[in-house]
Symmetry: C2
Subunit: 157 residues, 2 copies
DNA sequence: TTGGCTGCAAAGAGTTTGCAAACCA
DNA sequence: TGGTTTGCAAACTCTTTGCAGCCAA
């Protein structure tokens, strides 16, 4: 039984198959545009935003209008491949959830780089606060904004 | 000397005086609109947003256009009376910094209420992460989103 | 076939900005 | 008087939506 489960997972190794199944289960279709968006998302760095993804799609001549891109990002988020993250800017950023556990973010105001970190004790404290307040948290975020070590070394400060 | 400092502070007790000084120092003027906005901000609850503040100004017939309101919020933020906070919505929220120390937020998705909390151990862990990364943090936020105790008691969940 | 899909363009929400008239110091 | 500020409307950014034609199953 364990064997067959493993085999099942292997058959599903291609993300496109998984996405197709997800879409079909919801009565939706797996179009070439959605396939292009999926491929480009999988080629993304740890963090990306809609505009950057759109530019890459255009460069690759993999057609998808901005409207379709936004609609597809919604599907991918519902499917669980990506997650929307707030990085202190006025537009949405996404990150691949694939293989990554929960983590928080450090954003450098100078170079714009986003670093991730995990800290079990920090998470434990957050859980404690949630418990103490009788809250049922659906999610939480910790965002640290400032200057990263490299930028500090470079400029003044 | 301590006495005279105290007296100075008392003379400055009216926020309007402080704001006027701040504006003048920057070569700006203290207009009736800016005074109205200041008053209304001081009458605000712990958290407010531009639209809500604008509605209150209109109700009070204390004139200030939306443009002036946004411009004045910028001045108040620079002065330090208010601080912009990200509360997981697509528009800015502000809070009075006056008399409040650093704190984090819990947002209830059902009733929309925002609660504040402080947790020294949590802050210490964040400082530790910052130090370990060689980061020079200008600020950080912790946001917990979910259902508050009251809402949990009420609805299902 | 026939629902779902696409691209376009327009609508939205929130916020900013150009500009001429009005105002403060 | 001269530099600021105001209000209006238009511009802007990011994202969503209405619609007519198109495509997948």
């Amino acid at each position: 039984m364990r064997m067959s489960l493993k085999i099942d997972l292997r058959v599903r190794a291609d993300p496109a198959d998984g996405f197709r199944s997800f879409l079909r289960a919801g009565g939706h279709s797996f179009t070439s545009q959605r396939h292009s968006v999926l491929q480009e998302v999988l080629r993304s760095a740890a963090h990306f935003d809609a505009e950057e993804l759109y530019a890459r799609l255009r460069k690759r001549r993999a057609g998808a209008s901005r409207a379709t891109l936004y609609r597809t990002l919604g599907h991918l988020e519902r499917w669980g491949l990506i997650r929307r993250v707030e990085l202190d800017e006025d537009h949405a950023h996404y990150e691949l959830t694939e293989g990554i556990g929960h983590h928080e973010h450090l954003v450098c105001e100078r170079c714009g780089r986003v670093a991730e970190f995990t800290d079990p004790e920090l998470e434990a404290r957050i859980e404690e606060v949630i418990r103490a307040r009788g809250f049922a948290a659906s999610r939480h975020t910790v965002l640290i904004v400032g200057a990263c070590a490299e930028c500090r070394g470079r400029g003044a400060g």
